[in-house]
């Protein structure tokens, strides 16, 4: 009898390769979501008009915040969707166990978050290029990566970590829902409870407000992501598949 | 030979009989190698273990002999042994059935012997 021995590392690597290939469609959906966000961004988030010497000056603040909100929803959805039955079962035809499946999913989510973070950050540039073509714009002022390389990189890192954390939340949520349908309502409860309760506000403040620097925030976001992923791994280890 | 047809005999017995028939017909000569269990399995679309069982019966009856690592070979006296065996066992069995059937049909002993002689005559 000949038994092949696969190490965890090998299996995870193979699974990541396979999943990146299989989930390519999600990246297409990302681009679509970003474009949609861009369209909504065109009108700007706020504007201000003044009149100096019979000349109308309109200052419009345009940002890619809308794009980010769209991408955040996408990340939550992707984190969730790869835990659903269809995705879960389609991995079972290949070599896997719960732990390797989780690890490879997490790596895939990290890679997708990096891709989503970078592209979302760069969408700012697209906006800057496209804006003058459609609107009656004379001057666009913005900070580009060349002006402030370090700041830009930190911003990009922040974006990536935020997206990762949201996808980690989606991943944990999906895992819980797979365990029991009732957890479906957990997210809804959380969405309502977090900004309205004292503890929720404290947690939000701890993560987003009490920061000495942006780097510190990045570290915190990564920490939260790790906690969420570990919880998902622990929960799903007890999970039976293809019942 | 279709082994999966409705026959009351176990498949491994039919495998053994097939090899015996091949030996009687001189398609397997003395000291010649016979099919392996895997060749038989492929040929008759059966599990190799079943085929092996058929071979084992013939080894036990010393119609075949085993050469380690080489396979199964036909024993020197195989053909005469098979003929002898069939005369003793198969023919007796068939005669037994013939007598039973004759009794069921109320054919007398006389009539039965007449019938056998008649068949004998027709074959000549």
């Amino acid at each position: 009898m000949f038994l092949s021995n696969s190490t965890l590392g090998e299996v995870v690597r193979t699974q990541v390769k396979f999943k990146m290939n299989a989930y390519l469609g999600t990246l297409v959906s990302l681009v679509f979501v970003q474009l949609l966000g861009l369209v909504f961004s065109m009108n700007g988030t706020s504007s201000m008009s003044t009149n100096i010497n019979n000349t109308d000056i309109q200052v419009v603040v345009v940002s890619t915040d809308t794009v980010f909100i769209f991408v955040a929803i996408w990340a939550l959805f992707i984190g969730n969707v790869i835990t659903t039955k269809g995705y879960r079962n389609s991995n079972l035809s290949f070599v896997t166990n719960s732990f390797s499946n989780n690890l490879s999913n997490i790596i895939v989510l990290i890679m997708m978050s990096v891709f989503a973070g970078v592209t979302t950050f760069l969408s700012n540039n697209i906006l800057r290029t496209v804006l003058p073509l459609f609107n009656n714009v004379d001057y666009v002022k913005s900070v580009s990566i060349i002006d402030d390389p370090l700041g830009s990189i930190i911003n990009m890192g922040l974006l990536i970590c935020l997206i990762l954390m949201i996808s980690a939340g989606g991943y944990l949520w999906g895992t819980l829902v797979y365990m029991h349908k009732a957890y479906m309502f957990l997210l809804i409860v959380l969405i309502i409870a977090t900004p309205t309760t004292k503890t929720g506000q404290m947690i939000l403040q701890f993560i987003f407000v009490d920061n000495g620097s942006l780097l510190f925030l990045i570290v915190k976001l990564i920490g939260v992501s790790i906690v969420l992923f570990v919880l998902a791994i622990v929960c799903s280890n007890r999970l039976e598949v293809r019942r | 030979m279709d082994l999966n047809s409705d026959s009351t005999k176990p498949i491994y017995i039919r495998i053994a009989e097939w090899i015996e028939n091949e030996i009687i017909a001189d398609r397997f000569q003395s000291d010649e190698k016979v099919h392996s269990q895997y060749q038989l399995a492929d040929l008759f679309n059966i599990n190799p273990a079943t085929a092996a069982k058929g071979l084992t019966i013939l080894v036990e009856q010393q119609i075949l002999y085993k050469r380690r690592g080489l396979g199964m070979f036909v024993a020197l006296e195989a053909k005469s042994m098979i003929l002898e065996k069939r005369r003793n066992e198969t023919l007796t069995q068939m005669a037994m059935e013939l007598v039973l059937e004759a009794r069921r049909l109320s054919v007398t002993e006389e009539e039965l012997i007449q019938l056998i002689k008649k068949c004998e005559g027709e074959q000549k």
Binding site: F2, Y87 | P10, Y38, L100
Partner: protein, 292 residues
């Protein structure tokens, strides 16, 4: 070497016990038929062995490891069933290309040849395949993995007659070329018994017997003849099945033993498939009794 070792294996679901008490061992390089009626626990047993679900109690070992969540068992075993699925974004050709990354003994040549023989479309998506073609593709996948433990759960469901016999032939030929442990469940014993070496019969979550096919075929005999004679012959014996043929004649199946020849009573062998059916029958009387 022992490939599977189950000791008092139980599996409880919320509302029922799928496996009550399963104890058996499977030696390597044998084709074993897992036989049982609907709801006997065949699928549950296979899923426990594949490591998809966890036993509730008892002990289960595959390659000396508990299969649940075990990477070594996953790498060396495959369960082919109709719930098998693949990502919607991959074509059949993509799947066959991905497989060797996971299964080190993947036989690409066999996969390609079978794929061509059964005229599957490489650009097709797995989810879009017809029931029969899906079963065919899953079978090709399962055979090509060359896993030391290859399990099929009702593999021929949905296949047409010609594909079924081709499948059994392909399985046998590949087994002859590369012997390995094959466990195949079905409720059509008759159509695959020629392939089998052993039979594992389970009923209501328990093992009824685990014997060679030849033993199963010699497990029982049937007697048919005048009711009084048949009843006299079978008195005090373990009766597996009876059927009143008409007002005077009866058909009775008992455990095999040497019986005296009695004028008027015919003695028949009982096929393996009938043996399995009779020993797992809990009802008194047969379907005919419903119509009395």
């Amino acid at each position: 070497m022992t490939v599977i070792d189950c000791q008092n294996l139980k599996k409880r679901y919320k509302r029922m016990n799928a496996l009550e008490d399963i104890t058996f061992q499977l030696e390597d390089q044998k084709i074993t038929g897992l036989i049982g009626r609907n709801g006997a626990g065949k699928t549950t047993l296979l899923k426990v062995l594949a490591g998809f679900i966890r036993e509730s109690s008892g002990d289960v070992k595959v390659f000396s490891n508990n299969p649940y969540n075990n990477l070594r068992v996953s790498a060396n075993s495959i369960l082919v069933d109709d719930q098998m699925s693949f990502p919607d974004s991959l074509t059949l050709a993509d799947i066959l290309e991905t497989a060797p990354d996971f299964y080190k003994r993947w036989d690409a040549e066999l996969a390609t040849n079978l794929f061509r023989y059964f005229r599957l479309n490489p650009k097709q998506l797995h989810a879009r395949l017809s029931k029969g073609n899906k079963a065919t593709f899953n079978m090709i996948f399962g055979l090509s993995t060359r896993c030391e433990l290859t399990m099929f759960d009702e593999p021929t469901n949905g296949m047409d007659e010609a594909v079924r016999s081709d499948f059994y032939r392909a399985l046998l030929k590949d087994y002859i070329a590369h012997p390995r442990t094959i466990l195949i469940s079905s409720h059509h014993l008759a159509e695959m018994e020629h392939l089998l070496e052993d039979i594992l019969l389970i009923h209501k979550g328990k093992v009824v017997f685990h014997q060679s096919l030849e033993e199963v075929k010699e497990y029982a005999v049937a007697l048919q003849g005048p009711t009084n004679l048949v009843e006299k012959m079978t008195a005090g014996k373990e009766i597996l099945h009876t059927k009143q043929l008409d007002s005077q004649r009866k058909y009775v199946v008992i455990r095999r033993e040497d019986l005296p020849l009695i004028e008027g009573v015919m003695i028949y062998p009982v096929s393996a498939s009938d043996v399995c059916m009779y020993v797992t029958d809990d009802r008194k009387g047969g379907i005919d009794d419903v119509f009395k």
